[in-house]
Amino acid sequence: MKVTKGSANDARPLPKLVASCQTQVLDGMEVANITSEEVLNARKGVVEFLLINHPLDCPICDQAGECHLQDLSFEHGLADTRYEFERRTFEKIDIGPYIKLHMTRCILCYRCVYTAQQLTPERVHGVIGRGDHAEISTFIEKAIDNDFSGNVIDVCPVGALTDRTFRFKSRVWFLKPMDAHRNCEKCSGKAVVWMYGNEIYRVTGRKDQYGEVHDFICNTCRFEKKALEDWTIEGPRDIDRHSVISQNHYENKTVTVK
């Protein structure tokens, strides 16, 4: 974003664009986020850069419909690409029994790395290599051995880390997200179950309107509790997102499923 006025004390604008998540708010600061040409241009640039090495395989990608990159491209991207070279590709890797890593789609945002760092006492999940030849990697393809490892799937903005118990089972927009909870010894047990009819297809953490996860949930809740009787369903989840994922969900908010 563009800081057009530094603060009440020092009104000078900041010379460079800054990252909103990293900039300290000061009294009297004024920012231009969606009105500055400079910002819109820079953002367009970033989206173009993010896409040049992305496979754009949304039609066969599990993340489609809840993909931040898809949303961003829709908002800022060009219809066409100016990139005429081969894209970066990788073999898919299983990180343990539950998680699939598909580096080809990864945008190297480091979110899973930061999450794994919170979850595990040692560094077991990180980035190897540099630049556009960098890769997300667990320590020599070992699994992240942790009850909460599944949360890296929730924080991945794209389809690079996906749930192996859900892959290719359905498209997210066919499913109804329901707030649900269960008594769990390991985590809060507060989750979202994604249902088709009376069947639970997948379980995820609850995310707020910005796509941030409220509470990390454990692997048992996420991967092993897919029977209706495992959960107490609270009601439809209100997902405030502008992408396809929020289509079709809300006309029957009052219906409770038992």
């Binding site: 820079a42 640039g45 970033v46 173009e48 190297l108 480091y110 540099r130 630049g131 556009d132």
Partner: protein
């Protein structure tokens, strides 16, 4: 010949050993400072000297030091940036190899001025043999009481360690250097907070280049005012220039700032003119990151004044017709060199060295490299030049650290000044190849 402050004794046999160094006035500055000066006095001399960072950015050292936060009970650190990986730059290597005690002495003085009891020299992994040279010098200094506890009975403690990197250009960026020193992946940090407030292990830290720290020795010996008398304007003192490319006498030279470019390139005291009697085509005066200058802007500025080797004169004309003093990596090109190939080569370097945190730098450097490769090999399009300028513009200013800018500037400036040559590569690829390499036949057969 102008005065030498850093390399004055560099030619003396055995100067890399303690005894010889001491005999030629070594550690005199430490004696002077620790016995007769308070830390603030040393800082004052450095401020008066007008010394500016020799690592590339040219930030006034005294000012940088005075920004160092000094909270109670928190250690402070001094780090020496010996990562020197900028293509064309090899001056720190020369200094550390020839006269390692000068760096050690400069670091003791600087640590004293800053109140830092622990200091590190972060040296690039490829300089593996220099690690031993420095460690030898440091152990000699410990043995003679110049390092350790209560130096010269002044109550000042100073420990100095050498830490080799693993061979990454990005670890020369000061916050990446700090991360690497902490044992992490060398990714630059977002600033603020600046290292002066939160650096190594979240403590206040100063990072300086090898040459900057070495220059503190003559500053303390001769006084800041005397040092400031050398040079022109705000470019004071002497600077090491590592000259390479198509010149008769490549090497490391210590110049007084303000030396005319013309004299530096053509005089027999310095580079000795262009090799094989060829003509000058272009010059990159400050390491691969700075804009390239075409021959008509090398010895004269766009305003027609003599171009000098100083921070201001080299930057005269801004990005339109100027460049930067940078790190002093001075590369000269004769009429046979291909700017397209050179730009491709630089970009390949930045692509290889980008840490990959910022999307514009990570993806943009690779993209530019691929476009340049195709141009160089006669597969380019006339629209590629605009594309390159576009991509460079989208990288510049939109990244965490200046590596993104450093990758963008050489491309933008090469196209600004040598667009003809780029277009020629598209229009007449065969003639181009013929002229540049005489490879046209094999190329045609391969296609």
């Amino acid at each position: 010949m102008s005065r030498k402050l850093l390399l004055e004794h560099a030619h003396i046999e055995g100067i890399n050993g303690y005894e010889t160094y001491r005999k030629h006035g070594g550690y005199r500055a430490v004696e002077k400072a620790l016995k007769n000066m308070a830390p603030a006095d040393v800082l004052e001399e450095v401020k008066k000297s007008g010394l500016r960072g020799r690592g590339g950015a040219g930030f006034p050292t005294g000012m940088k030091w005075s920004f160092l936060a000094k909270p109670e009970g928190v250690p402070r650190y001094l780090l020496c940036n010996a990562d020197e990986s900028e293509p064309g730059t090899f001056k720190d290597r020369y200094l550390m190899e020839k006269i390692p005690h000068l760096l050690v002495e400069g670091m003791i003085l600087s640590a004293y001025a800053l109140g830092a009891n622990t200091s590190y020299i972060y040296i690039r992994g490829e300089y593996s043999w220099i690690v031993f040279i420095l460690e030898k010098a440091i152990s000699e200094a410990y043995a003679k009481g110049w390092l350790g506890n209560n130096i010269l009975g002044s109550g000042f403690d100073c420990d100095l360690y050498v830490n080799p990197g693993a061979g990454a250009y990005i670890c020369g960026e000061e916050t990446a250097l700090i991360e690497s020193l902490e044992g992490k992946r060398g990714n630059p940090r977002i600033k603020p907070p600046f290292p002066a407030v939160k650096g190594l292990w979240q403590c206040p830290t100063v990072v300086n280049n090898v040459e900057t720290l070495a220059a503190v020795v003559p500053i303390v010996n001769e006084g800041g005012d005397n040092y400031a008398r050398i040079g022109v304007g705000r470019s004071t003192g002497t600077k090491l220039i590592s000259a390479g490319g198509n010149i008769n006498k490549p090497g490391v030279y210590e110049i007084e700032l303000g030396l005319p470019m013309e004299e530096f390139i053509y005089s027999d005291d310095w580079c000795g003119g262009i090799k094989n009697g060829k003509r000058l085509k272009a010059c990159v005066p400050g390491g691969s990151s700075v804009p390239i200058l075409p021959h008509y802007l090398v010895t004269k500025t766009a305003a027609g004044e003599n171009r000098l080797l100083s921070y201001e004169s080299l930057a005269d004309g801004g990005f339109e017709s100027g460049s930067m003093l940078g790190s002093g990596g001075f590369i000269v090109y004769d009429e046979d060199q291909c700017v397209v190939r050179n730009t491709w080569n630089f970009t390949r370097f930045y692509h290889h060295e980008s840490c990959g945190q910022c999307s514009p730098c990570r993806e943009g450097t690779g993209w530019m490299e691929k476009v340049l490769e195709r141009l160089e090999n006669g597969k380019g399009k006339l629209s590629d030049m605009d594309l390159l300028v576009e991509v460079a513009k989208k990288i510049e200013g939109n990244t965490i650290c200046p590596l993104g800018d450093a990758a963008a500037w050489p491309v933008a400036s090469a196209i600004r000044h040598f667009r003809d040559e780029f277009e020629w590569h598209v229009r007449e690829p065969e003639a181009c190849m013929q002229r540049n390499y005489g490879l046209v036949k094999e190329k045609a057969e391969m296609a």
